[in-house]
């Protein structure tokens, strides 16, 4: 699959997961992975797969086509954006599969998926990471 940045994701036995890091000393998580720990200021981070399911912590809908560096398709459709709480790890920001404010609610259980956001030079879709409600997955 044509992903916007291959370093964002890891393959796991359960399927693709976000590639994060965890501090060996204090347990803090980050996304994407980084070498310095933002919590204890140490540098003992190791790579981990982040949880594939979580709950919607907050959300909005992007109502206008952003300026560059946004590279989304020219035919603009509003898209959902949210922060998703991954239990015991962190709260991660990602695109949402849903863009209807009436259908978005804090606390909804959501699952990792890939969402297309533009086409590449050959006309194939380029994907990024996103989340979708579990009962719609």
């Amino acid at each position: 699959m044509n992903l916007v940045d291959d370093t964002l994701v890891l393959d796991t036995p359960d399927g693709p997961a976000l590639r994060g890091s965890e501090c060996r000393d204090c347990g803090a998580h980050t996304f994407p992975r980084q070498d310095g720990c933002p919590r204890c200021t140490g540098s003992a981070m190791r790579e981990v797969a982040l949880a594939r399911r979580g709950t919607l912590w907050s959300w909005t809908v992007q109502g206008f086509r952003p300026k560059p560096p946004y590279t989304g398709s020219a035919a603009y459709e509003p898209y959902g954006v949210g922060y998703i709480a991954l239990p015991g790890q962190l709260i991660v920001e990602a695109r949402l599969a849903e863009a209807d404010p009436a259908k978005l609610e804090i606390g909804t259980e959501v699952e990792l998926m890939f969402v297309p956001f533009r086409d590449d030079a050959e006309g194939r879709p380029v994907y990024t990471v996103g989340f979708v409600a579990v009962d719609h997955a």
Partner: protein, 381 residues
């Protein structure tokens, strides 16, 4: 340790001034501030200043005067003005200098700011996929806040309505036309739950302040305003800030909570003693949240305060009396200094149609910038 006073204020009207560069607006503001203080640029012992998009503040000396003074550029996003002021405060309080100038100015193109993820240490995917957008963050922060504190989203339109009402009374403001809460609520949605007129816009303008040792203030002005405190903080692990691909599960207060608490403590003034407050209102939700983050009210109390008119010019706690960012726009470098300019006008009793009644004694300012910095001041007369 010397105390610090503001003895001169100058401003170039905010808004859009076609054909006048940001630098020219800054020079205008500087000359106004010097004239107000009865001083010349050659009297200045230091300068601090900045702009985001209109050039290096230090280069203004080619127009103001080549006197050899140390002039340092400051860049801290929307908190640039607040940061310049803190640097000036320290320069005087430390005894290094007796008198100097701070200058903030900017001139931005129309539309939302475009920001490069690399400048924030974030991968390019973040911008490419449409997450590097400040308006989204504001939508998500207020969405969560309204949920956590069971606040009626309808107050957001009331906040913006007040901003336009105050701006209409302020000759230096950009937006000088009143707008009803109904019109504001019905405007196009930018990032749910915030509509077009709940957001401020990037704009143009300049502000300059002349500061000196407080014990010499009365030789420059009959009405000095004292900088009782100026404090600055950046974000801690667990605070929820703009341009963050992730945040920690454990919540920490925003930098505003710490910066404002430090400012009140250092000034020896309680939030309940504040007579006027200028607080960062990049959008209506920011004013709502910052009211509590600064300690001016409790979380969840805002809905009742706003609906009762407490934050109006005639209310118990007038907020953003010049129309705030919503009516003035946000020239990044000048924004924090505009708040101080407004409080000085108010404490002098010179605010004209937007003057707060009852001779205010204590003013508070709060400027917030990406990616999680906050600068607060307490001013007294």
């Amino acid at each position: 340790m010397p105390e610090v006073a503001i003895v001169g204020i100058g401003m170039h009207r905010f808004g859009r001034t076609d054909g006048v560069s940001g630098r020219a607006q800054a020079v205008h503001a500087a000359r106004e501030a010097l004239r107000d203080a009865g001083l010349k640029f050659s009297d200045m012992q230091f300068g601090f200043g900045g702009s985001h998009s209109a050039g290096g503040a230090d280069t203004l000396v080619s127009e103001l005067g080549l006197t050899g003074l140390p002039f340092i550029n400051v860049a801290n996003g929307c908190a640039t003005g607040g940061s310049a002021l803190i640097a000036a405060d320290a320069a005087i309080r430390s005894g290094q200098h007796d008198v100097g100038i701070v200058i903030g100015f900017d001139k931005h193109p129309r539309g939302a700011f475009a920001t490069d993820p690399a400048e924030h240490g974030i991968g390019s995917w973040y911008g490419e996929t449409g997450l590097m957008v400040t308006t989204q963050f504001f939508g998500m922060k207020i969405q969560r806040y309204l949920h956590d504190h069971a606040i009626d989203p309808a107050v957001l339109a009331l906040v913006a309505e007040k901003s336009f009402r105050n701006g209409a009374r302020n000759p230096m403001a950009w937006r000088r036309k009143e707008m009803s809460a109904g019109e504001i609520a019905a405007a196009p949605m930018i990032s749910h739950p915030l509509t077009q007129y709940m957001y401020c816009s990037p704009g143009e303008g300049a502000v300059a302040l002349v500061l000196c040792r407080a014990d010499r203030a009365r030789s420059h002005t009959g009405r000095p305003v004292f900088l009782a405190a100026a404090e600055f903080r950046s974000r801690r692990y667990g605070s929820f800030e703009v341009f963050a691909p992730w945040i920690a599960s454990e919540r920490a207060p925003s930098p505003t909570v710490e910066a404002s608490a430090a400012a009140f403590e250092s000034a020896g003034i309680a939030p309940s003693e504040v007579d006027i407050a200028q607080i960062q209102d990049t959008e209506a939700g920011a004013e709502l949240m910052h009211l509590a983050e600064t300690g001016l009210c409790a979380d969840g109390e805002q809905e009742a305060l706003i609906k009762a008119g407490a934050t109006e010019i005639g209310g118990r706690l007038p907020v953003n009396t010049d129309g705030g960012c919503i009516a003035n726009g946000e020239p990044i470098g000048a924004s924090g200094l505009r708040q101080v300019y407004e409080n000085v006008l108010q404490l002098r009793g010179d605010a004209g149609e937007h003057q707060v009644p009852g001779r205010p004694r204590a003013g508070f300012t709060h400027v917030y910038g990406a990616p999680g910095i906050s600068a607060c001041t307490v001013l007294t007369r």
